[in-house]
Symmetry: C2
Subunit: 272 residues, 2 copies
C-alpha cells in the first residue's frame, strides 16, 4: 500500500467516510502505545472489510525519525470506487499520513472545565468503538461551545448514557475505584483507555448523564486520550458556561500518574 498525500474525487474515504484513522503520539521518533493503535486500526479495517496495511507500510509512517514530540495521523480509506455504495470489485486501499510537531496543553493537567453537550450520540453497535471517518457527530458537538475556558464537551447517547468527550474518553472515581463507560453502542475506544483497562486501573460501568450531574458518589471526573494525557475536571458547565456541578480536586491522582507513565508525561504532585 503506497502512501498518498491527497485523494481523488472517487476516493470512498471522501465520498462516504469509508475508512479509519489513528492519531499517535511520537516521542523522539518512537510511537507510543503503538501495538494498541495498530490493533485498533486493523480491527476497524476488518469491521469495514478493508484490507489493512502491513507492518512495513505502517512503519514507513515514522521514517525518518525526528526528535521531540510529534503527532502522527494515519488514515486508511477503501480507495477509489464507483458512484454507488457497492464495493469495487478490486479494492486498492489508500494509506495517508502526516506528522506534526506537538506540545501538550500542560496547564490542563492541573484541571479543566468541560461542558455537557446537547447533542446525543446515536446508538450504532455495528460501528461502535472503531475510529472510522464518519465523525459528523463529533463536529456538531464541538460547534456547541466557543469559549476557550471550556476544554472539552461530554457526550451522552440517545438513551442518556454518558459515552465520551468529543475527542477524549471519560473516566470517574467512585466507590474507591476508577470507571469508564462501556462503548458497545457508540463512541471511540481510545488506546489510553484500553491500556488502563488492561492494567486493571479502570473498569467499565454505565453512568447516566443524570447521575453524573446529581450524584455525590461520582467524586472525581477526568477526560483524556493518548495524545494529551489525562485532564482532571474541576467543573461541569453548560456550553454557555453556567456551572452545573463541581468535582473534587484530582490533579496528581493515581489514575493520572498511571496514564502519564504510559505516555512519558510527568506525574504531578498534589501541591504543584
Amino acid at each position: 500500500m503506497a502512501a498518498a498525500d491527497q485523494v481523488p474525487f472517487d476516493d470512498r474515504g471522501l465520498a462516504f467516510g469509508d475508512g479509519v484513522f489513528e492519531t499517535v503520539l511520537m516521542r523522539d521518533g518512537a510511537p507510543l502505545l503503538w501495538p494498541r493503535h495498530r490493533a485498533r486500526l486493523r480491527h476497524g479495517c476488518r469491521t469495514l472489510g478493508i484490507s489493512p496495511p502491513d507492518d512495513a507500510a505502517l512503519e514507513a509512517c515514522w521514517q525518518p525519525p525526528a526528535s521531540g514530540l510529534e503527532v502522527l495521523k494515519i488514515m486508511v480509506t477503501r480507495g477509489s470506487g464507483g458512484r454507488g455504495y457497492a464495493l469495487p470489485e478490486r479494492q486498492r486501499p489508500r494509506l495517508l499520513y502526516r506528522r506534526t510537531a506537538f506540545a501538550p496543553a500542560r496547564s490542563r493537567w492541573r484541571g479543566v472545565d468541560v461542558c455537557l453537550c446537547a447533542l446525543r450520540l446515536a446508538r450504532q453497535p455495528a460501528l461502535a468503538g472503531i475510529k472510522h471517518l464518519n465523525r459528523l457527530e463529533n463536529v456538531l458537538a464541538r460547534r456547541e461551545w466557543q469559549s476557550a475556558d471550556i476544554a472539552e464537551g461530554l457526550l451522552a447517547d440517545t438513551d442518556g448514557n454518558l459515552v465520551e468527550a468529543t475527542a477524549m474518553n471519560v473516566f470517574w472515581r467512585a466507590d474507591d475505584a476508577y470507571w469508564t463507560p462501556p462503548l458497545d453502542a457508540s463512541g471511540v475506544a481510545g488506546t489510553l483507555r484500553a491500556a488502563l483497562l488492561e492494567q486493571g486501573r479502570v473498569q467499565e460501568a454505565p453512568l447516566s448523564a443524570e447521575t453524573l450531574l446529581e450524584s455525590s458518589a461520582v467524586e472525581q471526573l477526568f477526560v483524556g486520550n493518548s495524545v494529551q494525557g489525562l485532564w482532571p475536571v474541576n467543573a461541569l458547565v453548560t456550553p454557555r458556561g453556567r456551572r452545573l456541578r463541581r468535582f473534587a480536586e484530582a490533579a496528581g491522582a493515581p489514575l493520572q500518574a498511571d496514564a502519564h507513565a504510559l505516555l512519558g508525561y510527568p506525574t504531578l504532585s498534589r501541591e504543584d
Copy 2:
C-alpha cells in the same frame, strides 16, 4: 468557491465526512428536479454550518452542456482544517463535481426483488434527512448481499421502523393511497420523494419492518430515486435470497407514472 477534482490530506470532508453531496440526473444538459437538489444541498450546508456554494458555482457544474443522459455528482466539504474537530477560524469550503454518462436500469422498472438488511440505522435527528458524507451505514448495508438478483436492500432503524433503501427511498400502497416513512430520525430525504410529497401523490406514515413483512394491508411496495426512477418490488427476500413475502404487481402503477413524468422516463403500460 472554485471547483477541485481532488482534496488534500487536511480536507475535513476526507477527515470527518464533514460535507454534503448531491447526485443529479441530467438530460440533454439540463438538471432534473434541480430546485430540490439545490435546496437540499443548501439545507445540508446550513445544518452543518458550512457556507453553501452560490448559483453561479453550481451552474458551472453542468457546463458545457452534453446531449443524452448523465449523472452529475456534486460534493461540498468544509475545506481544510486542523487536526481537531474545532472549526477552522476561516472556512474555505471546497466544491467538487463530476459528470458521467448514464443509462437507467430499464428492466427494473418492471419489478425487482429487494432484501431486508440486518443492519439497523442509528437514530440521529441532528443529521436526519440531509445527504451528508457520513455514509458508512449504507456501505455496511450494501455489503450484506452479493446476488445480482437483489436490486436493493431495505433498512429499518434501531426502533424497528422502516426508513429507506441503501440508495433509494421507499413507498408502499395501502388503503387506496401511497405512503413513505417520515425521515425525522434517520435516512436521506430524496428529491423524488420530496416532489411526490409536495404534489400530494404520497403521504408520510410510519411502518414497522414487522408490519411490512406480515400485513396484507401493504399491497404494493416501491423503491426509487431521482436517478433511476421507481422500481416496483415483486418480492422481499433475505440477503441470501430466501423469499419473505410477495407484493402485488405494480409496474405501470399511477405512482410510477407520476415519478417517471418528473424524470422524463416512460410510463409503462400494465401489459408491457
